[in-house]
Every structure is written in structure tokens, then in C-alpha cells.
């Protein structure tokens, strides 16, 4: 139901992000989705990868501050208003989105979203009740 996400603390140094991707590449880890949140001083890089456990260990071994948590991946209808419908469903249920980012699900070529919810369990129920397709781990990692 939930998808493991790797987060990395980055000082805004040129090349730091490149170093993360190099560590992943060297260990044959594919990046499926990523997002960066930053202030002028530091950033949080969030990654969905095909081998999260390996990614976590390797990045930690390289001295990065890294953590794993679980996020929710949701398929978005390929029709006008697809995203709007999902967000409306969440808003109506008074569910807060901590952050979200988009990616393309390779097996279907369809748009998908990663959500970090405050109340995750509740959010999943509400979305399922509204007929939204919540992606399983396998959907993402089969590629």
C-alpha cells in the first residue's frame, strides 16, 4: 500500500546532488521519482528508487544524513480534472498534504503522484472510497 521513500539532507553545495546520484548509479539503483525541497541554506532530497534498502545503506555509508519513510503513490486519471478530483476528495475530508510530487509510471505511461500525508491511513481510505487507484509497491518497482 505504501512505498518506501529515501530522504537525504543536503547542504546547498554545488555537486552534492550529483554525488548522491553517482552513489546510486554506482550501485545500479534506478531513480523512479525525485523531488527537492529547499531553503537558501539547505535542502531535502526525496527519492523513490527501485532498491530502497540498498540505496539507504550505500548513502549512509558515504556519510549522508539519510532516512527512510513510507509515502503513498496514487495514479492520476489521464483526463482533464484528474488531479483536481483527487485534491478535492482530500480537501473535503480535511486531510492535509505535507508535500507531493509527480512522476510517470513506466509500465502504463500514466501520470502518478507521491503524497506525504499527515494522517496516512485515513487518507488511503478516503482515496480508495473515491475510487482512486493507489499504486502497490510492485506497480512501481517492476520496471
Amino acid at each position: 500500500m505504501q512505498v518506501p521513500q529515501i530522504s537525504v539532507f543536503l547542504e546547498n553545495k554545488v555537486g552534492r546532488m550529483a554525488e548522491v546520484t553517482e552513489v546510486l548509479a554506482a550501485n545500479e539503483i534506478n531513480i523512479i521519482a525525485l523531488s527537492v525541497a529547499d531553503t537558501s541554506e539547505f535542502g531535502i532530497l526525496r527519492l523513490i528508487v527501485n532498491k530502497p534498502e540498498v540505496a539507504y545503506e550505500k548513502l549512509k555509508g558515504e556519510g549522508f544524513t539519510v532516512m527512510t519513510n513510507f509515502v503513498v503513490a496514487v495514479e492520476v486519471d489521464d483526463t482533464p480534472g484528474g488531479l483536481a478530483r483527487i485534491l478535492r476528495t482530500l480537501t473535503d475530508a480535511s486531510l492535509n498534504v505535507e508535500y507531493m510530487y509527480a512522476f510517470v509510471e513506466r509500465s502504463t505511461g500514466r501520470a502518478a503522484l507521491i503524497f506525504r500525508f499527515d494522517k496516512e491511513g485515513e487518507a488511503i481510505k478516503v482515496l480508495q472510497a473515491a475510487g482512486v487507484n493507489i499504486l502497490q509497491k510492485v506497480d512501481i518497482f517492476q520496471n
Binding site: Q5, S7, F42, G63, F64, T65, N69
Partner: protein, 432 residues
């Protein structure tokens, strides 16, 4: 407020001078006979005990320093046979060996009485319930305060350090009226009490704080949050522990218990003795310690002495609250800042010890204080909201503690250079 030992604490200065002279001559003779270290020092200086006839001759005696304690580690400075020592305490040895001190049974009794003096001066009585949130152990704070409170007859809650929620719960449940801890922990407890909505349930009225320098800003903040009169006391383990000096409720400095200690102020650079009211390094000579007397011990604490009479009736000189140590203080925009304060503040926010570095620079004639804190896995969150909240919490804590708003930078682990396993804490670019 009651004076614990009125016959001594209010003794006329002339009688005090006689007492000091008599006790100094005796202690000099004793350490010369019993402690090879002092005998060698006297010999190198061309002195014999007969050269010290009164306090006026004190300046002839060489200083004793923390390094001397280290070179005599562990028991070289003892003036009694080991079998007469009933207790050992040490200072924290953050650099090099710890400094070891011993106490005879009589020393413990003297110590208890001295702590009772400053507790009584702060208004503590047998009717009080006092919670000791100092660690009990090698550090002199926990036991020292414990003995003094027992002497006074207060009800002691020996909570020791840490477990903030439990500390507050005990204070509420037991109706604790007196809080004993470091000022920074008092501030932290105050903030926790506010956050937990416990302010109304607290019965605290007096705080007796010590063991670290603190600011007036902290004092105001502690008093407001805990609803107490916050008093400071002074001491150091090399001399006896807490109980060298304490504030009376006039709060115009700390009365030094001069029947047991002689205080001098020196220029830390030249060693010259300074006059009344001039700020310099405090030097203490213990007059009554049996197990480990010290002659002219350099405390590295900067203060000044004042002898005009105090409204409380005590005749002892007063020393200013110690704001600074001669060896590690930074002066930033005129404000004295200590690495130890910054460390304490950081520790308090998350309960973990983050690696940090203090960088002082100057731009446009202005000092700039930047504190870099390494983000370890305990501090890291995937949500920006949480990271920004952490940054704010750290900044507020630091600002409260040091009395000015620094710049804060969250940095990656290991980005702060370490040498010999220990990070270099302070980089003062103004000096480069």
C-alpha cells in the same frame, strides 16, 4: 532572610582579619609539612612558612593552577593520609585528566555548613521541599547541595538530572518549593512547564542555581516561567564545590565565605593583584580544608570584589556574578559568549549532542556569530516544516541563552573538521 551562621557571617571585619591571619599561617605550615608539591614550590620561591605571617604576605606565595592538579593526579595534593579521606570528587575532564579532590569527615561537615549558608541566604528553610536536579556523582553539585539542604532540614527530593517530564511531575505531586539545578536546565524546565500547561500546579518559590555562567536575560526568563526568585551560588570543586560564595536576597553579588576562603583578584595576564571593584581573575586560598587545602588557586573565573556593607547584615565581601572565564570566553558585539552555553542550549533542544562549530567573523565593523550544527539522523526529517521548526527552536534557545541572536546554519554531518576525534569548536576569524 535568616542568616545561617550569624556569629561568623556578620563578624566585624577586624575580627575576620585576625581569624584569616591565624588560619592562613596554620594552613601554610600544614601544607608545607604534608604536601611535597607545596614544599617544592616554597623552596623554589625561596620561601619558608615563617615568611607568611599574615594575609599581607599572601602575595609572596606562588599560584596553584588546574595544571598543578593534573600533574599531581590523582592524590599528590592530599595533606592527610589516604585513610582519613572519606570522599573523592572530580571535575569533568573534558581536556586532559580530571582534577581530583578529597574530603575528610570534617571537610564534609564544613562543606554542608557552607552550602547551608547560601541556601538560608536565598530564603530556604526547614519548611521547604527541595528538588535536586543536579547529577549525583563525581560532580560536586548534587552531593554538596544535598548536604546543605539536610543541614537546613528541608525535605529533599533527590531527583538527579534528566527526565524532564518526570521532574515536573514530581514537583507538582510533592509540592516542591525549591529547585536546585543549573540555570540552563531551570530555563528548560520552565519552558517544558509552560508547554505541558503545568505552571499553575507548581508551588516553586526559590531556585538555587549554579555550576555555570548565566545571563540576566536567563534569570528574568526563569523567574517568569517558574514563578520563583532565582538565586546564584558560586563554587568550584578544586576549592570545595558549591559553597564558596552565594547571593543574598539583596542580589548585589555573592558573599564570599571569608572565614573559610581568602579571595584575591588578579590581572590574568600579569598576575598582579588588582584593587577593589576592578574586574580580573578570582584567586582563592582555602583556610579550613583538611584533606586538600589550596593556596592561591587560580579559578580562571572573571569577577570583581566589593566591600561596602550589604543591607543583609553579612560582613563578607561580595563578588560579581561570574559571567566569564578567562580562558574560553568570546566577546561578540560586547556580549560575553561561552562555548559551553551554546553546547548546553543545543543539547537541550533535542536531547542529543550534535556536532557544532562556532564561527566569529567581522563584517562592516560588526561581529557576526554563526553557529553551524550538523544534522544527524536523529535531527533529520523528510518534511521541510519539521526542519524549519527545528531551526527556529535552536535559534530561540541559543538567543535566550547567550543574550543575542546568532546566525544558524544546518550542515551535513562530518562537514565540521575534526582533529584527534574532537571537533574544533571555535573559529575566531577576527584574529586571523
Amino acid at each position: 532572610m535568616a542568616i545561617w551562621d550569624p556569629s561568623n557571617e556578620t563578624m566585624p571585619r577586624s575580627r575576620l582579619a585576625d581569624l584569616q591571619n591565624e588560619r592562613l599561617v596554620a594552613v601554610v605550615k600544614r601544607v608545607y609539612d604534608k604536601v611535597p608539591f607545596y614544599r617544592d614550590r616554597f623552596t623554589s620561591a625561596g620561601l619558608t612558612p615563617s615568611d607568611i605571617k599574615s594575609v599581607a604576605d599572601l602575595q609572596k606565595i606562588p599560584f596553584t593552577t588546574k595544571e598543578d592538579f593534573r600533574s599531581q593526579y590523582p592524590f599528590g595534593l592530599l595533606a592527610v593520609p589516604k585513610r582519613d579521606v572519606v570522599r573523592i570528587h572530580c571535575s569533568s575532564g573534558t581536556t586532559g585528566k580530571p582534577t581530583v579532590v578529597g574530603y575528610t569527615r570534617k571537610d564534609l561537615d564544613t562543606w554542608s555548613g557552607l552550602v547551608a549558608r547560601f541556601l538560608a541566604a536565598a530564603g530556604v528553610t526547614a519548611d521547604d521541599t527541595a528538588q535536586i536536579a543536579f547529577g549525583y556523582g563525581l560532580f560536586t553539585g548534587g552531593f554538596g547541595l544535598h548536604y546543605g539542604l539536610e543541614k537546613i532540614g528541608a525535605t529533599i527530593v533527590p531527583a538527579s538530572s534528566g527526565f524532564t517530564e518526570r521532574q515536573l511531575r514530581l514537583m507538582c505531586d510533592f509540592g516542591v518549593t525549591v529547585l536546585i539545578c543549573t540555570p540552563s536546565y531551570a530555563l528548560y524546565l520552565g519552558e517544558a512547564a509552560v508547554n505541558m500547561g503545568l505552571q499553575e500546579q507548581l508551588k516553586l518559590r526559590v531556585g538555587c542555581f549554579g555550576a555555570e555562567p548565566w545571563t540576566d536575560l536567563m534569570r528574568e526568563s526563569i523567574e517568569a516561567k517558574l514563578g520563583i526568585l532565582a538565586t546564584d551560588n558560586y563554587g568550584l570543586s578544586e576549592v570545595i564545590g558549591p559553597g564558596v560564595a552565594g547571593e543574598c536576597t539583596e542580589r548585589r553579588g555573592h558573599h564570599i565565605f571569608e572565614d573559610h576562603f581568602i579571595a584575591e583578584i588578579i590581572d590574568p595576564e600579569t598576575g598582579q593583584v588588582l584593587g577593589e571593584g576592578q574586574t580580573g581573575e578570582l584567586v582563592l586560598t582555602s583556610l579550613t580544608k583538611e584533606a586538600l587545602p589550596v593556596l592561591r588557586y587560580r579559578t580562571r573565573d572573571l569577577t570583581a570584589l566589593h566591600s561596602e556593607p550589604c543591607a543583609c547584615g553579612r560582613t563578607f565581601v561580595r563578588m560579581d556574578r561570574v559571567h566569564a572565564r578567562s580562558d574560553d570566553m568570546l566577546i561578540i558585539r560586547g556580549v560575553n559568549v561561552f562555548p559551553s552555553q551554546i553546547e548546553t542550549a543545543l543539547l537541550e533542544v533535542e536531547g542529543t549532542e550534535p556536532h557544532y562549530q562556532i564561527i566569529v567573523d567581522r563584517a562592516g565593523g560588526m561581529d557576526i556569530l554563526t553557529i553551524e550544527v550538523e544534522v544527524n539522523p536523529e535531527l533529520f526529517r523528510d518534511e521541510m516544516k519539521a526542519m524549519v521548526a527545528l531551526e527556529e527552536a535552536l535559534l530561540n534557545r541559543l538567543t535566550n541563552t547567550i543574550g543575542m541572536r546568532p546566525k544558524l546554519r544546518l550542515v551535513e554531518p562530518k562537514s565540521i573538521a575534526r582533529s584527534e576525534g574532537k571537533a574544533k569548536r571555535v573559529i575566531d576569524k577576527r584574529k586571523q
